[in-house]
């Protein structure tokens, strides 16, 4: 399944396996997965529930240990790093956008967005200034001191995008970013993500069930039973998606 030359690869996954549970209850979530994501692309991972796409996203993001195989993300071999080094890698190089946004309700928008900068050692003053600027650029001017609960779903997801991008990570991981949003809001969010992915040193990986947004992908990886079944380039798949 490997495609493209290694210099243009953001994520390089080879023969990765991951099993949950033991004995009769054992589930093989990833079964020797090979997978690549290129620099400057928005790649979607699709497939039915239980196909292993969230597990694949988790191991690429470094949030889940895997049993076998190799993963390189922007040149860092996750399989060789110690847990503490993986955490440090995530902190610096990975941005997260979650299905349920996962904004901390007791913090205001600026504080929520400033968290990755604070984790990277930025001072509170600088972090909050950068967060404010980014929120303004995402159309949330003057709302930085509000609680996330005062915002609509789309606005909350924009805050989550701001939080994912504020420390300028190379890899942006998105888990069902539009499933909790209506069609128009979802489209707006995907436009934003596609803009992010266009930068040459970035890569956006999106796990989704939402066929309304398939056409935003540069490529699409289909998973089933813990394996990558097919990889679609956008133009061919775009027409199929339009048929849905």
């Amino acid at each position: 399944m490997a495609e493209g030359n290694s210099n243009s690869l953001a994520v390089h996954v080879r023969a990765v396996s991951k099993t949950y549970g033991r004995g009769d209850t054992q589930i093989r979530a990833l079964d020797g997965v090979d997978f690549d994501a290129r620099l400057g692309e928005l790649l979607m991972i699709v497939g039915p529930s239980g196909s292993g796409k969230t597990t694949l996203l988790s191991v690429i993001a470094g949030t889940l240990e895997f049993d076998a195989g190799e993963i390189e993300v922007f040149g860092a071999s996750l399989h060789r790093l110690r847990p503490r080094e993986v955490t440090a890698f995530r902190k610096r190089h990975v941005g997260f956008i979650f299905q349920q946004f996962n904004l901390i309700p007791t913090l205001n928008l600026i504080e929520n967005v400033s968290v990755p900068l604070l984790l990277n050692g930025e001072s509170r003053r600088v972090a909050e200034r950068k967060a404010q600027t980014l929120l303004d650029s995402l159309g949330l001017q003057g709302r930085g001191r509000e609680a996330p609960t005062n915002l609509s779903g789309g606005q909350q997801q924009r805050v989550a995008i701001a939080r994912a991008l504020v420390h300028e990570p190379q890899l942006v991981i998105c888990d069902e970013p539009t499933s909790a949003l209506d069609k128009d809001t979802g489209a707006h969010i995907m436009e934003l993500l596609r803009t992010v992915a266009r930068k040459p040193d970035r890569c956006v990986v999106v796990v989704t069930h939402d066929s309304r947004i398939f056409h935003y992908a540069d490529r699409m990886t289909e998973m089933e039973d813990g394996r990558v079944q097919r990889v679609h380039e956008l133009p061919a798949h775009y027409e199929q998606a339009g048929d849905h």
């Binding site: 949030t63 889940l64 503490r84 995530r90 979650f98 996962n102 901390i104 913090l107 504080e111 984790l119």
Partner: protein, 379 residues
């Protein structure tokens, strides 16, 4: 990130209030009950402060200062003859009955001091002259006696007024300040010779002998020598203080009763703080998981939890001890219940509250350490 931790804590107002409330209650219960307990113990040793002397010589069977057994009057001379004793004088101490103007009776603690030296005199005289105690039928009463014995009078008992002790007239020549006694009886001071006139006649009238060590002897050394040469029991102040305290520990239910309440305070603190904080962590699991996914290490999250726990601990402690102090100020004004708040007590409460909070934080930390950051990707 620490301000983020504090905002996460304070933002969850329900749990924040419950944590503060629980810890305040625990700190209040532990400090206030301990202060009342210590105050009560201090009341048991009030004789030592109201009749100050370096060496107390008593009957060999005596174990504590509130249960004195009468001695022979010749024992004073025997003590005086002991090597290492500078001087020794007799003292009378017993509970007698006073009669009030309205016909009621009140028990009083009648103290008879050596008429020559007035050793054991009250430490603080509020009115009158100490020397006047030598005048016939004269007594010095403490401020509690003024309150207790004034019932039925148009004005409080004062200098020159009289009342009866065992149907004998006593004239007030002085008013002093004295520590409250365990039984709550007022102190009435007179000379030894007059005290045995006020008291009903019995075979032995000497309650104890108070003594001073000779030059070059410590009170403890002198006390041991007295015991060796006379067979009587002798204590220095410190020995009698602790002997009395331990007697109450061994022979009354007071420590167990207060200890149970103090333990309850601790358990309430552990239960409320531990459970609430653990629930707080559980409910914030996704947020903490998100922080973990974004690169917050276990160490940082553990420090954040400890900061949160210690913050509520310090606030709860401050409020609990503050309420205890307010209680203390109120009761000290009234004189009861007993209350004593040495600096060690709030310090000990602080340590206990911090232990409770550290325990609560540890429960959360254990959860955090097991928490996989990938939890944020699960529905």
């Amino acid at each position: 990130m620490y301000h983020i931790a504090l905002k996460m804590l304070i933002g969850d107002r329900g749990k924040y209030a419950m944590l503060i409330g629980g810890l305040t209650f625990a700190a209040l219960l532990m400090t206030q009950q301990s202060a009342v307990f210590f105050g009560l113990l201090m009341w048991t040793t009030s004789h030592l402060r109201n009749m100050p002397a370096k060496i107390w010589v008593v009957d060999p069977k005596v174990e504590q200062v509130n249960e004195l057994k009468a001695m022979r009057e010749t024992d004073v001379s025997r003590v005086r003859s002991v090597t290492g004793v500078g001087w020794a004088v007799p003292m009378y101490c017993s509970i007698q009955v006073s009669k009030l103007t309205d016909g009621n009776f009140k028990p009083v603690l009648l103290i008879g001091l050596d008429g020559t030296t007035l050793v054991g005199r009250p430490p603080t005289l509020l009115a009158g002259r100490l020397e006047d105690i030598r005048l016939p039928n004269s007594v010095i009463i403490d401020d509690l006696a003024v309150k207790r014995l004034s019932t039925g009078r148009q004005r409080p008992l004062g200098l020159g007024d009289t009342f009866e002790i065992n149907d004998k007239e006593a004239r007030v020549v002085g008013i002093c300040k004295a520590d409250r006694h365990f039984f709550g009886y007022p102190y009435v001071y007179t000379t030894f010779d007059q005290a045995i006139q006020f008291a009903p006649k019995v075979r032995k009238m000497l309650s104890l002998v108070v003594a001073e060590p000779a030059n070059g002897w410590t009170p403890a050394q002198s006390a041991r020598q007295i015991e060796k040469e006379t067979g009587l029991k002798a204590f220095d102040e410190d020995e009698l203080f602790w002997s009395t305290i331990w007697w109450y520990f061994r022979n009354t239910g007071i420590p167990a009763s207060f200890g149970t309440t103090i333990l309850l305070g601790f358990i309430v603190g552990v239960a409320i703080a531990g459970q609430t904080f653990y629930t707080f962590v559980l409910e914030n699991q996704r947020n903490l998981g998100a922080l973990k996914a974004m690169g917050a290490g276990n160490g940082l999250l553990a420090r954040m939890l400890v900061l949160q726990a210690w913050t509520v601990g310090v606030i709860g402690y401050g409020m609990g001890v503050g309420l205890t102090v307010l209680f203390g100020l109120a009761v000290l004004e009234k004189g009861q219940p007993p209350f004593m708040l040495p600096y060690q007590l709030p310090l000990a409460t602080f340590v206990v509250i911090m232990i409770i909070c550290t325990f609560a934080a540890l429960l959360g930390i254990l959860k955090i350490y097991k928490l996989e950051p990938a939890i944020v990707f699960r529905g």
